[in-house]
Symmetry: C2
Subunit: 407 residues, 2 copies
């Protein structure tokens, strides 16, 4: 069994890197803070005698040898980057649970049949470089290495340059190593487990998601003399769009549509200028692909409608989509058995958030483990998961992994 | 009579300072561009043999001596600062019309009874430092010099430091000189004159305006797993507010309510984060003070309503208000007579925009002259007023001024 105290201490030590005002973490992908977090992690791994390999897009692979090292390893892992005002557990738990597992195996001198591989994926959050999970996506062949390196943040810095700046561009070809199985432990980031009083989510799949860049172009004009009826206010059009999408998603009978506008920017904003141009992002999700299609159609319709109503030119670009994913039944079962073995209350569930495991599942048998987080709050400095839940998730991860790796 | 060609050339020369991509001007108050514009203007004035005095908040006063220099001067003028993507006429026309008038008087060796004073007011637009017209307001005793110097832009730079940086803090006490009368020529910035086919607006007053800083604080959370009904989305609340205010102002039976949200910012924006905190500005205007009160009440009610609906804490600060102003009948008549004399089609009208003349009118007999601008568009790079209209406005300004200054 793993050491809950040691796990918690690692989590709290990592949280000291890029601390935010209200007790959260800010380690945006490939910033100095991300680099400091990666270095701390590497020190811990090297202290265990493990070698760390880094691929060309900054994914880190920590190998623990097994008895049959010509076999594909069983992979575990998650990410260390965070949102601008992120929490201490999102991603970090899945990485440091892996570290705790390696430490436990070391202490107890356990050698597995297959080798093990602990992974830290680059830029999972998608906050600095869109889209989310871009590096695991590249690993899984969804994006070319070149296109990934060329992606830019809002200041125009490429992912490749950011990687070079912090010295985390490695030599390992992207796509190596392949995994016999892959498991990711993560906080739920939603309210389901807490509400049900359960400690483990056996994640059977992940909802589909689509990201859009939207612009609305009306006409800037003076706030004072311009009559209301002759305005072409891009912000008023954006506001109507947001209001309509919200209403639509809230009245969805099955309650499974998710619509979020996370970024909105006015071009050359000024108090007494009617906004002439607004850019915003739209995030659409659903657990059923056909429903997600319908949601996208609604979005396009509402966008066109506000364009007409307010005489504003509208444009939308679907910059990314991740289809609904169903995980591997063998991996799911391994997790469920581990939870049962310890009589931990669990439920099978779909994930609302995207995870690197979504991409890995395209090339290896994969499943995920969720643990509850307080009030379902994540992507927020107040994010919290109790030491007990962190430990339970790590124990289940260890056992599911051992089952697939062989002992 | 003034020289339309020379006037136009001055306007186009000033427009070269801080040019924008699409043919407009960007000379935000007290930036290097503003300073360059001020220096060009000073060179022109000094070439005429006029002395330029600058007060402690950067207002510039250019005197042309009369026959009785112990009498208060007649003032004319406007501003040289612009919006971030401003036009070439807003403010500039009123200043360079004054220059053209000084040049004309010089050419024709006309000496007035009273001295004349051409003024450039600091930070009229209110885009860099809120509120608008802050320096003429300080001149007129509405704000203390200290509070004005302490006002900050969005980067935290004080108006006083910005003034020192560009070397335009003068010695003249704020409030000097007083004017016997004051006239401001300005583009209308709205569609009324153009629609009526008239060349001159005899401005009888200015609508009241109020500025608010608003914050909406909900809870940041993950865009994926957070169900719609458990969100506290600050942007959704802001969107509903904007939509409601827009609807309210559009359904105003007399069509005189104006509501504008010019700035909106999400705290720590990220595509997959439900916005936890949004700040925005509100600009309310009306030509009737009691109606403006009613509009403010509606705004406060709608703000409280969206706070309740979306479980978001709301806060609003009224950071500025400028009451409805009625100009001086003697000055209004002087303008009307000049237009009549030349058979220029004109109408009496209220101004929708605030102007420095609003503040000056508190301490001196004041009125304003408007000329049409194409499609009523202002606070936009596309702003345009024809050479003929610029000339007509300048001629009327000259004659109204001469009437009040005596020849
Ligand atoms: N887990 C997580 O925050 N992933 C980011 C991708 C997403 O937006 O779902
Ligand atoms: N004329 C002008 O643009 N003034 C700025 C103050 C206002 O917002 O009305």
């Amino acid at each position: 069994t793993i050491d809950p105290q040691r796990l918690w201490e690692s989590l709290m030590a990592m949280a000291e890197i890029g601390p935010t005002e209200n007790g959260g973490s800010c380690r945006l992908a490939l910033t100095d803070e991300d680099a400091a977090g990666r270095r701390l992690f590497m020190e811990w791994c090297e202290a265990l005698g493990c070698t760390v390999r880094i691929d060309r897009i900054g994914n880190m692979f920590v190998r623990r040898l097994g008895r049959q090292n010509d076999l594909d390893p069983v992979g575990i892992g998650s990410h260390l980057d965070t949102q601008p005002k992120g929490g201490r557990f999102d991603g970090v738990l899945g990485v440091l649970a892996g570290l705790e597992i390696f430490r436990t195996l070391q202490d107890q001198r356990i050698v597995t049949e297959r080798p093990l591989e602990l992974v830290v994926w680059t830029n999972e959050e998608g906050s600095r470089f869109a889209p989310a999970m871009v590096a695991s996506g590249t690993y899984a062949g969804r994006f070319s290495v070149e296109s990934t390196l060329a992606r830019r943040d809002r200041d125009g810095v490429t992912l490749g340059d950011a990687l070079d700046n912090i010295g985390f561009a490695g030599e390992l070809p992207v796509g190596e190593p392949r995994f016999a199985s892959f498991f990711e432990l993560h906080i739920e980031q939603g309210p389901v487990l807490e509400a049900a009083g359960e400690s483990i989510g056996v994640v059977t799949g992940v909802q589909g998601m689509r990201w859009f860049d939207v612009t609305l172009s009306g006409q800037a004009a003076h706030a004072g003399p311009t009559p209301m009826h002759s305005r072409r206010d891009a912000l008023v059009a954006a506001a109507r769009l947001i209001d309509r999408l919200q209403a639509h998603a809230c009245h969805d009978p099955d309650g499974d549509s998710r619509v979020t506008v996370g970024c909105l920017e006015i071009d050359a904003p000024s108090r007494n200028v009617i906004p002439g141009k607004v850019s915003l992002t739209v995030d659409l999700r659903h657990t059923v692909e056909s429903e997600l299609n319908a949601l996208e159609t609604t979005f396009e319709k509402e966008l066109a409608a506000v364009g007409e109503t307010f005489d504003v030119a509208v444009h939308s670009d679907r910059i990314w989509q991740s289809p609904v994913v169903h995980f591997h039944s063998g991996c799911i079962d391994a997790i469920e058995q581990a939870a049962k073995r310890h009589s931990i209350p669990y439920q099978r569930m779909m994930s609302g958030a995207g995870h690197d495991a979504v991409n890995v599942s395209r090339v290896a048998p994969t499943a995920m483990i969720f643990v509850p987080c307080r009030d379902g709050i994540s992507h927020n400095e107040a994010e919290y998961t109790s030491p007990e839940h962190c430990a339970a998730g790590t124990q289940v991860l260890l056992e599911a992994m051992l089952e697939r790796a062989g002992t």
